[in-house]
C-alpha cells in the first residue's frame, strides 16, 4: 500500500514519517515509533486503553488514522513525567493504589490529565461520568477515583 508523508510532534520530538493511510495513530505510536506505553485493549474505541492527548484533548488513538494526526502535538504516557519528576496524576495513581495489572493505567492517566487540565474543579460524581469511556477490569474504580480526586486537588493547590 502506498505510503504518505506525515509529520507528528510526539512528546516534544518531531517525527517525519512515511506511513500507510490505513495505520491508526495507535499503530504508528506502538509499531513505527516504538512507544509501547499506549495500550491496545479493543481497537474499536470502547475501552480507552489507547488514550493519548492530541492538541490538548484526550482521544482514543485506535480511532484516529495516523495520517489525520499530521501536524498535531501528541502527548503519550511516556511524555508525561518531566525532568525525572512524575506528573501529579502519576503520583496519585501510585499513592492511592489506583492501578493493579496496570494495562488500563496509561489510558486512565492520560484521560485524567486531560480532564484535570480542562477543569480540576469537577466533583467526584462528575469525574465518574467523565471517565466512563475507560475500562478497568481490576480495580473496581474505587481507587482510580481516589487518584483523580487527589491529583485534581494537587493541581488546584499548586496553580
Amino acid at each position: 500500500m502506498a505510503k504518505l508523508p506525515v509529520s507528528l510532534t510526539i512528546n516534544g520530538d518531531e517525527h517525519d514519517l512515511l506511513i500507510e493511510p490505513r495505520k491508526t495513530l495507535l499503530a504508528v505510536l506502538r509499531d513505527t515509533i516504538g512507544l509501547t506505553g499506549t495500550k491496545e485493549g479493543c481497537s474499536t474505541g470502547d475501552c480507552g486503553a489507547c488514550t493519548v492527548i492530541v492538541d490538548g484533548k484526550a482521544v482514543t488513538s485506535c480511532m484516529v488514522l495516523g495520517v489525520t494526526a499530521s501536524g498535531k502535538e501528541i502527548t503519550t504516557i511516556e511524555g508525561l513525567a518531566s525532568d525525572g519528576e512524575l506528573h501529579p496524576v502519576q503520583q496519585a495513581f501510585i499513592e492511592t493504589g489506583g492501578y493493579q495489572c496496570g494495562f488500563c493505567t496509561p489510558g486512565f492517566i492520560m484521560a485524567s490529565k486531560a480532564l484535570i487540565d480542562e477543569n480540576p474543579d469537577r466533583t467526584e460524581e462528575e469525574f465518574r461520568y467523565a471517565l466512563g469511556g475507560n475500562i478497568c477490569r481490576c480495580t473496581g474504580y474505587t481507587k482510580i477515583l481516589e487518584a483523580i480526586l487527589q491529583a485534581a486537588e494537587e493541581v488546584r493547590s499548586t496553580s
Binding site: M1, E20, R22, K23, A27, R30, D31, G34, L35, T36, G37, T38, K39, E40, G41, C42, S43, T44, D46, C47, A49, T76, I77, E78, L80, A81, L86, Q90, F93, I94, E95, G97, Y99, Q100, C101, G102, F103, C104, T105, P106, I109, F127, R128, Y129, L131, G132, G133, N134, I135, C136, R137, C138, T139, G140, Y141, T142, K143, I144, L145
Partner: protein, 767 residues
C-alpha cells in the same frame, strides 16, 4: 499490627513507577528484530463439516511468509480443526506476514468451504436425544436412573442370592425416567451426604427453584498474546502473557513433542488474568509453529473480538436447587442438579456445584452435576471458578427461606454457619474461620440493623466462601555489600504479589522495604514456580519467601558470630544489623558489612533458599451488602451502597487487599447485572464492548471494603489468598437486594432492566 514493621503496612508497590510511566513490558510490547505478525484463521460457522481449505490466493499476497494448518503440526496433536468445526471462531489455520494488516488480509483470502450442521447452544436442549451430537460415547444417567442403576449393579454382584425379581422390578422402574438419559455430557460429579429425602420430610418449609447463570468472559484488559522465536538450533523462546510460564513450557513441550530444556518461556507483565490466562494452544502454540516454519520471531495477538469468540470464559449453568428448613431457622436438607455449559470440550468447573453447601451446617446434602457440550469455545477458570454460580443459587434460595419463616436474612445465616470444630464433609473438622465475624462486620459497616428503604429501594446480603490453593515454588534471596537484598524467583506478579514477597523478606531481614528489590526469572533461569492462579501466590510464595529469608538469616548470624566472636545464641538481627544481646559493651555489625565480609570467608556469600509445596489452607469468607433502588418504569437498578467485608487472615499490604476486594466485588456486580455472552445458531453474537458491556466508573458507586483478620495457621503471618473470595457472593447480594426492592425473585442473570420490567409485569422469572 505493631509487632511487625513492614508486613501489614500500606507500602508502594514494587512496580509502581513502571506501571504509571508506560515502561512496563506487556506481551504485545515485545518486538524482537525481524518479527513477523501472525493471524489465526477462524471458523465462520458454529458447527460444520469442513469440505476444503484453499490457501492459494492468500499465499500470493506480497508480505505473506507462512500459512500453516493442522498438517504442519508434526506431533499430530490437535491445534487446528481439520474435518469439523464445533464453534464460531475455532482455529483452522494461521498466517505469518511482515505486517499485521497483511496478515489479516491473507487470513480473509483463505477460502473455506463448509457443510453447515445443526447447532445447539442451550444446555437443557443439548442433553436431549434430539440434539446434535459432538463427541462419541457421551450419554449419562440422571440422578434417579443413577440410583436405580447402582442398586441393580449391587444386586447383580451378589452371586450368593437370587435377586432376579428385584432386578427386573428395578429395571422396569428405570423406564419411568426416560428424560434422564442425558446426551452430550462432557463430565459428571456427584456427592451425597445424609438423607435428603428424610431432611425434606422433616422440614417445615421447602423451596425449589431453577437458577440460570450466563457464560461471562474474564475480560482481562490485555488480550492474549505471545511472541515466539525458534532459532536454527531448535531452541525456542516464548514471551508469553500468562499466569503460569512453567505450565506454558510443559504445555508447549507436550503439544509439540519438544524437550523441555529446549523451551524458554519469559513471562511478560500481565494485563489481568483472573484465571483465564493459562491456556497454551490459544496463541502460544500457533506462534511457535509459525516461527519454526519461517525461522523468524512471530507475534500472535488476539483482538478483543477473538477474545470473545475463542477465549476460554467462565461457564454458564443451570442449577435446580431445593432447600428445606425448620420454622426456627435450621437448614435440614439441600439438593442440587446442575448442568454446566462446557462448550465444545470438557473442563467446566462442575465440581464447584458442591459450593451450594456454603458455610452452613447442612446435615443432608445431595449434589449431581453434569458438564454439557454445546457449540461454544471451551471454558476456563474465572476468579473462584464455579463458586459464584453455585453460591448465587444457594444464597438466593436462603433468602427465600428466610422470608418464608419470617427471619432476618443475616440472623438466619448466622444461626446456620459452621463453627470451629464442626464436621465438614471432606472428613476433617472446620478450622477457625471468621465466618460470623465477617458477616457481622459487613452488617455493622453497612448499617444493616437499622436499615431504611424508601419506595423501590431494597437491601440484599450474601456470603461466599473460597479456599486458596497452593503449589510448589522456590525463592532465592541474596544480601549485598550495601546491605540491600535481592529476591529472585519465577512466579508471575498478580496485582501486588511481588510486593508482598518483598515485604516479607524485608520484615525478616529487618531492612527497609525500599532496600529490597525483586526479579522474576524466565523458565530457563528461575526455580520452578506454580502458576499465579487460585489465590496461591501470597500463600505459597509468601511461605517460600519466608523460608528463604530465614535461611539467609541463619547465614547472617553465622557470619556475625564469626566476626564478632560471639556465640550465635547471643546474637540478634534488628534494624539491618546484628547486635550482641546483653553485651556490657554494645557491639553490632551491619548487614552490609557482613555481606562484604562474607566474600572472603570459606562459607561464602549470604544466599537464602526457600522451597515449598503445600500446607493445609484455611477457607476465607466474603460477605457483602448492597442497597439498591429500582426504577419500576425503566427497570434500571441503581446501586446506592455496596459494602464488602472479607476474612483475609492477615493483610500483608492492606492497600492491595482492599484493591482485590473492590475489584472482585465489581466483577461480581457485573455478572449479576450486566454481563452475558450471548449465542445463537451462528455462535457468539456480542463479541465486543458495545454489546458486551462491562462496568465503567459511571455504573456504580465506591465499594466500601472492610478487612477482617482471623489468621490462617499455615499462612505467612496468617495470610490467606485474597483474590478470589470477593466475587463469590456478589451475584446473590445483588439479586437479593433487587428482590427486596421489587418483591419479585429474579432467578436468571443478568438482571438487566428489561428482565425487571418483565418481572414487574408478571411475566418474568419469579419464584
Amino acid at each position: 499490627m505493631s509487632e511487625h514493621s513492614v508486613v501489614g503496612q500500606k507500602v508502594t508497590r514494587v512496580d509502581a513507577v513502571e506501571k504509571v510511566t508506560g515502561a512496563a513490558q506487556y506481551g504485545a510490547d515485545v518486538h524482537p528484530a525481524g518479527m513477523l505478525y501472525g493471524k489465526i484463521v477462524r471458523s465462520k460457522q458454529a458447527h460444520a463439516n469442513i469440505l476444503s481449505i484453499d490457501t492459494s490466493e492468500a499465499e500470493k499476497l506480497p508480505g505473506v511468509r507462512a500459512i500453516i494448518t493442522q498438517d504442519d503440526v508434526p506431533s499430530g496433536r490437535r491445534v487446528f480443526a481439520t474435518d469439523k468445526v464445533l464453534y464460531l471462531g475455532e482455529p483452522l489455520a494461521a498466517v505469518a506476514a511482515t505486517d499485521p494488516d497483511i496478515a489479516e488480509e491473507a487470513a480473509e483470502l483463505i477460502k473455506i468451504e463448509y457443510e453447515v450442521l445443526p447447532v445447539v447452544q442451550d444446555v437443557t436442549e443439548a442433553i436431549k436425544p434430539s440434539a446434535p451430537r459432538f463427541h462419541g460415547d457421551d450419554t449419562k444417567d440422571g440422578p434417579n436412573r443413577r440410583e436405580i442403576s447402582t442398586q441393580i449393579r449391587k444386586l447383580s454382584r451378589d452371586k450368593e442370592n437370587d435377586h432376579s425379581d428385584e432386578i427386573s422390578k428395578l429395571e422396569a422402574e428405570l423406564e419411568n425416567y426416560p428424560d434422564e438419559v442425558y446426551y452430550n455430557i462432557s463430565a459428571e460429579s456427584h456427592s451425597d451426604a445424609g438423607d435428603v429425602e428424610k431432611g425434606f420430610a422433616e422440614s417445615d418449609v421447602v423451596v425449589e427453584d431453577t437458577y440460570i447463570i450466563p457464560r461471562v468472559h474474564q475480560t482481562y484488559m490485555e488480550p492474549h498474546v505471545s511472541v515466539a522465536s525458534a532459532d536454527s538450533s531448535g531452541k525456542i523462546t516464548v514471551w508469553a502473557s500468562t499466569q503460569g510460564p512453567f505450565a506454558i513450557r510443559s504445555g508447549i513441550a507436550g503439544t509439540l513433542g519438544i524437550p523441555l530444556t529446549q523451551i524458554n518461556v519469559i513471562g511478560t507483565t500481565m494485563g489481568g488474568g483472573f484465571g483465564g490466562r493459562f491456556g497454551v494452544i490459544i496463541t502460544h502454540i500457533p506462534a511457535v509453529l509459525l516461527s519454526q516454519k519461517t525461522g523468524r520471531p512471530v507475534r500472535v495477538q488476539m483482538t478483543r473480538e477473538e477474545e470473545f469468540t475463542d477465549g476460554r470464559p467462565a461457564p454458564g449453568c443451570v442449577i435446580k436447587l431445593k432447600t428445606g428448613a425448620t420454622n426456627d431457622g435450621r437448614i435440614l436438607a439441600r439438593e442440587a442438579l446442575a448442568f454446566w455449559d462446557s462448550g465444545s470440550v470438557s473442563g467446566a468447573s462442575i465440581g464447584s456445584t458442591i459450593r451450594v453447601r456454603g458455610v452452613y451446617k447442612i446435615p443432608n446434602l445431595k449434589v449431581d452435576a453434569y458438564g454439557v457440550h454445546t457449540n461454544k469455545s471451551g471454558t476456563a477458570a474465572y476468579r473462584a471458578p464455579g463458586a459464584p454460580q453455585a453460591i448465587f443459587a444457594g444464597e438466593s434460595q436462603l433468602d427465600e427461606i428466610a422470608e418464608r419463616i419470617g427471619m432476618d436474612p443475616v440472623k438466619f445465616r448466622l444461626i446456620n454457619m459452621r463453627e470451629e470444630g464442626d464436621p465438614v464433609p471432606a472428613g476433617s473438622n472446620e478450622p477457625k474461620v471468621g465466618y460470623k465475624e465477617t458477616l457481622e462486620a459487613v452488617a455493622d459497616a453497612a448499617g444493616w440493623w437499622d436499615r431504611e428503604a424508601d419506595e423501590n429501594q431494597g437491601w440484599g446480603v450474601a456470603v461466599g466462601d473460597w479456599t486458596n490453593g497452593c503449589g510448589p515454588g522456590g525463592v532465592y534471596v541474596s544480601v549485598h555489600e550495601d546491605g540491600s537484598a535481592r529476591i529472585f524467583h519465577g512466579s508471575m506478579d498478580i496485582t501486588g504479589t511481588d510486593t508482598a514477597i518483598s515485604q516479607i523478606i524485608a520484615e525478616i531481614l529487618t531492612v527497609p522495604y525500599e532496600s529490597v528489590t525483586i526479579r522474576r526469572g524466565d523458565t530457563d533461569s528461575a526455580p520452578y514456580s506454580t502458576g499465579s492462579g487460585g489465590s496461591v501466590v501470597t500463600f505459597t510464595m509468601g511461605n517460600t519467601a519466608k523460608l528463604a529469608a530465614e535461611d539467609a538469616h541463619r547465614r547472617i548470624l553465622e557470619l556475625a558470630s564469626e566476626r564478632l566472636n560471639t556465640n550465635m545464641d547471643d546474637l540478634e538481627l534488628k534494624d539491618g544489623a546484628v547486635h550482641v544481646v546483653s553485651a556490657e559493651q554494645p557491639k553490632s555489625i551491619s548487614l552490609g558489612e557482613l555481606a562484604a565480609y562474607s566474600l572472603s570467608t570459606t562459607g561464602g556469600p549470604i544466599v537464602g533458599k526457600g522451597s515449598f509445596a503445600r500446607q493445609a489452607s484455611t477457607p476465607a469468607l466474603a460477605a457483602q451488602i448492597a442497597k439498591v433502588e429500582v426504577d419500576p418504569g425503566t427497570g434500571r437498578t441503581r446501586v446506592l451502597k455496596l459494602v464488602a467485608s472479607q476474612d483475609v487472615g492477615f493483610a500483608i499490604n492492606p492497600m492491595a487487599v482492599e484493591g482485590q476486594i473492590e475489584g472482585g466485588t465489581v466483577q461480581g456486580y457485573a455478572w449479576a447485572m450486566m454481563e452475558e455472552m450471548q449465542y445463537d445458531e451462528n455462535g457468539n453474537v456480542n463479541p465486543g464492548f458495545v454489546d458486551y458491556r462491562v462496568p465503567t466508573s459511571a455504573d456504580l458507586p465506591t465499594v466500601e471494603s472492610v478487612i477482617v483478620e482471623v489468621p490462617a495457621p499455615n499462612g505467612p503471618y496468617g495470610a490467606k489468598g485474597v483474590g478470589e473470595p470477593p466475587i463469590t457472593p456478589t451475584l446473590a447480594t445483588m439479586a437479593n437486594a433487587v428482590k427486596d426492592a421489587i418483591g419479585i425473585r429474579i432467578t436468571e442473570l443478568p438482571i438487566k432492566p428489561e428482565k425487571v420490567v418483565d418481572a414487574l409485569k408478571g411475566n418474568g422469572h419469579s419464584a
